[in-house]
């Protein structure tokens, strides 16, 4: 399969993730969307690594996965705290920064 197929898949996953982030009202759903976007990037990295015969991409992907896990742990913790305080995780209701 040509590189463009991988890149197309990654773009599709990224777009789905972005769509999730933009449209989901639930904070957990948004985090899932972010997860998809990050993984689209991972697909890109792996694909380029494979096609350019460069191990850097793979190593970079490992780091990304590790950081993603940490990030999602922190993100979910924040969501839980928000829920405790506000009794909601609806993104539309979390508008404390409204001007």
């Amino acid at each position: 399969m040509p590189l463009s197929a991988y890149l197309g898949l990654a773009a599709l996953v990224f777009a789905i993730g972005l769509f999730g982030v933009l449209t989901r009202r639930n904070a957990v759903g948004i985090l899932l969307g972010i997860e998809l976007m990050l993984n689209a990037v991972n697909i890109n990295l792996v694909a380029f690594s494979r096609f350019r015969a460069d191990l850097g991409g793979l190593i970079f992907t490992l780091f990304t996965i590790a950081i993603t896990v940490a990030e999602i742990a922190v993100g979910l913790a924040i969501v839980i705290v928000i829920f405790r305080v506000r009794r909601t995780i609806e993104a539309d209701h979390l508008d404390l920064l409204r001007g």
Binding site: M1, P2, L3, L18, V21, L22, T23, I30, R50, F51, R52, A53, D54, L55, A91, D92, L94, D95, L96, L97, R98, G99
Partner: protein, 632 residues
């Protein structure tokens, strides 16, 4: 060790200043009242002794004394810009004696006159009095225009402070401000004149200026303008038409203040300045003519207003304006000596009249002459003293006013100023009339009430008697040493005849009742009408003030409020409004920001697509999987 005259003059100057510093700076002393007054009086007595010694010494040793002590002031690259010091000549010495003498007598008189004042006020009063004495002496002894101007303003300040001594009275506060501003109007000209003179000649000092003037070496552009500006200062200070309107209002101050500042000393500073700087004024004959005309006109105008005034102090104030007009006319006629002699004698007998009027007011508790009467029989000594002053002012032989006024009239006549001469002769008739009107109303006639009045305090009485004796002595000296100048022989008789005619008219109208004052007023209706309204000059000044100054202020205020403030208000309102609009961009919802980021990235991509050169777009090598196969 013998002190020379200038050193003595410095002592004379230092004594009132030390007294002012002591009373002014030491708060418990100032608030104690009587001790402060005692210090001030003792200092003035010392100054009087010093001034008397100074003139006695200079009579004894008329030559060989250095007349001046000078210090450099305002050092500059090309020599000092100005100097300070004392310049002691005959004129300054006589003036010093007059100032210290009247100051001392007035301060003693005030001790009794202001006995009911609270101690802190009394301390304040004596601090002002000491400052005034110091400033006036400094003015008199000035060796140059700059020092004179500084002290000129200081006496103006003291005048303001003392007119407004009872500052809780609105009329006194207003009169103080009026006196200050009207004299400042003239002072503007004075300061502009001396600065222009300095710019042209490089010096403020009298000595080099007079020396140059005498040998005709003073070549200055626009010299007449400069001297006219300097003369304006004298117009304000010496209450010449049209700036005379402040002096009658200045009577709001305590009576001793009126006697000292607004009759004997400060108001004569303008006459003194013109007489002192006469060598310079003499170079501009048209200006001298103007000075004489304005002086004579002022004398006549003020005399007509005095005839219809019912307030005894204001009558005296108008007569002061009138006599200042005489002095200025003599200056303008080219006889500063005559002006100065009239200044000295007038200082003595006008102080006597004011202090006598103080006793009269003290007795009747009113200033209105029509509510007084019969004082002469009750208080013959007061009446006698006042009568001496009145006769002196009216110019009756052998009192000093007669001789000095004759000298003035002769000077004006010799200068061939016939219209001013006629005005001054008419004034001498009016002077006798209005002064004897006051005398007949207040001292003769019938008493309006028959309450028992306390005797005037001994200090006030003694001061009046001392001044009366001094007036008589001055008259006797003048009569004995009188030298007939170049005046025509008929002049004294004419002037005496007019004076007696004035006295007779006053007697007929206000004592004997031959002439009804109301019919007299009706016969001279237009002048009576105008004089009672002060020739609308106060209204003119007030109207000008309101129209020009307030109008201008309103325009400036409008510009400030609507243009300057308007721009700033528009800016701030615009900022607030824009901020309010932009605020709505911040919805606070996280996803809206993500929309923003996505939109921005998309726009950047579009921009990159449009602007990036096509070569680099297709420049990537095509990659196939495993083409370099490092993983195998």
């Amino acid at each position: 060790m013998r002190l020379g005259s200038p050193e003595l003059a410095l002592v004379v100057l230092a004594l009132p200043f030390a007294s002012f510093l002591a009373i002014g700076l030491i708060r418990p002393l100032r608030r104690s009242g009587r001790p402060a007054a005692a210090i001030s009086i003792v200092a003035m007595a010392g100054a009087l002794v010093g001034a008397a010694l100074m003139s006695w010494q200079s009579i004894a040793v008329s030559r060989g004394l250095n007349p001046a002590v000078l210090w450099t002031w305002l050092p500059a690259d090309g020599g000092p810009m100005a100097s300070v010091g004392v310049w002691v000549d005959g004129m300054a010495m006589q003036m010093c004696v007059l100032v210290t003498l009247i100051s001392l007598l007035v301060q003693i008189y005030s001790w009794a006159y202001l006995a009911d004042e609270p101690p802190p006020s009394l301390g304040r009063y004596y601090a002002y009095q000491s400052l005034f004495a110091f400033s006036m002496l400094g003015l008199v002894l000035s060796p140059g225009f700059l020092q004179m101007f500084v002290f000129w303003e200081l006496v103006g300040l003291c005048s303001y402070l003392l007119i407004g001594y009872w500052y809780d009275r609105p009329s006194a506060a207003r009169a103080a401000v009026k006196a200050f501003w009207i004299t400042k109007l003239g002072d503007l000209g004075f300061v502009a004149g001396i600065v222009m003179l300095w710019a042209a000649t490089g010096t403020f000092d009298f000595f080099p200026l007079f020396s140059a003037a005498e040998i005709g070496a003073l070549h200055v552009d626009r010299f007449p303008t400069i001297m006219f500006l300097i003369y304006l200062g004298a117009v304000g200070k010496s209450a010449q038409f049209p700036l005379h309107i402040w002096l009658p209002d200045a009577m709001e101050g305590p009576t001793p203040v009126s006697a000292l500042i607004h009759a004997a000393t400060m108001v004569t500073a303008g006459v003194y300045m013109v007489a002192r700087a006469y060598p310079l004024f003499a170079l501009v004959p048209p200006l001298l003519t103007l000075i004489a005309w304005v002086g004579a006109f002022t004398a006549l105008l003020a005399a007509t207003m005095a005839c219809v005034e019912v307030d005894i102090k204001r009558v005296l104030a108008y007569s002061t304006v009138s006599q200042l007009g005489y002095m200025m006319a003599a200056n303008g006629a080219g006889e500063p000596e005559a002006a100065f002699q009239h200044l000295l004698t007038h200082g003595v007998f006008k102080a006597l009249l004011f202090l006598g009027a103080g006793i009269v007011i003290h007795h009747f508790h009113t200033n209105d002459v029509f509510r007084m009467g019969g004082l002469f029989l009750l208080r013959p000594w007061v009446g006698g003293s006042f009568l001496v002053g009145t006769l002196a002012l009216a110019g009756v032989w052998p009192l000093p006013g007669f001789f000095s006024k004759e000298a003035v009239l002769a000077a004006v006549l010799n200068a061939r100023l016939s219209v001013p001469f006629l005005m001054l002769i008419a004034t001498s008739f009016l002077t006798a009339f209005y002064m004897f009107r006051v005398v007949f109303l207040a001292f003769f006639g019938h008493a309006h009430d028959h309450h028992e009045h306390p005797r005037p305090p001994i200090a006030m009485d003694a001061v009046c008697r001392a001044l009366a004796v001094l007036t008589l002595a001055l008259g006797a000296r003048a009569a004995l040493t009188m030298h007939h100048g170049d005046a025509p022989a008929w002049l004294p008789w004419i002037s005496l005849a007019w004076a007696f005619a004035g006295i007779a008219l006053a007697w007929a109208a206000y004592q004997a009742g031959f002439v009804d004052p109301a019919r007299l007023a009706a016969a001279l209706a237009p002048i009576d009408f105008l004089a009672r309204r002060r020739y609308f000059l106060d209204a003119l000044f007030g109207g000008t003030y309101r129209l020009v100054l307030l109008g201008f202020s309103r325009v400036v205020g409008w510009v400030d409020r609507y243009v300057v403030d308007g721009v700033l208000n528009a800016l701030s309102a615009g900022t607030l409004h824009a901020g309010d609009r932009l605020r709505r961009l911040q919805s606070g919802r996280p996803q809206d920001y993500v929309y923003g980021v996505v939109l921005g990235v998309l726009l950047l991509l579009v921009w990159a697509q449009l602007t990036m050169p096509p070569a680099s777009r297709s420049g990537h090598p095509r990659l196939e999987p495993g083409s370099r196969t490092p993983l195998q």
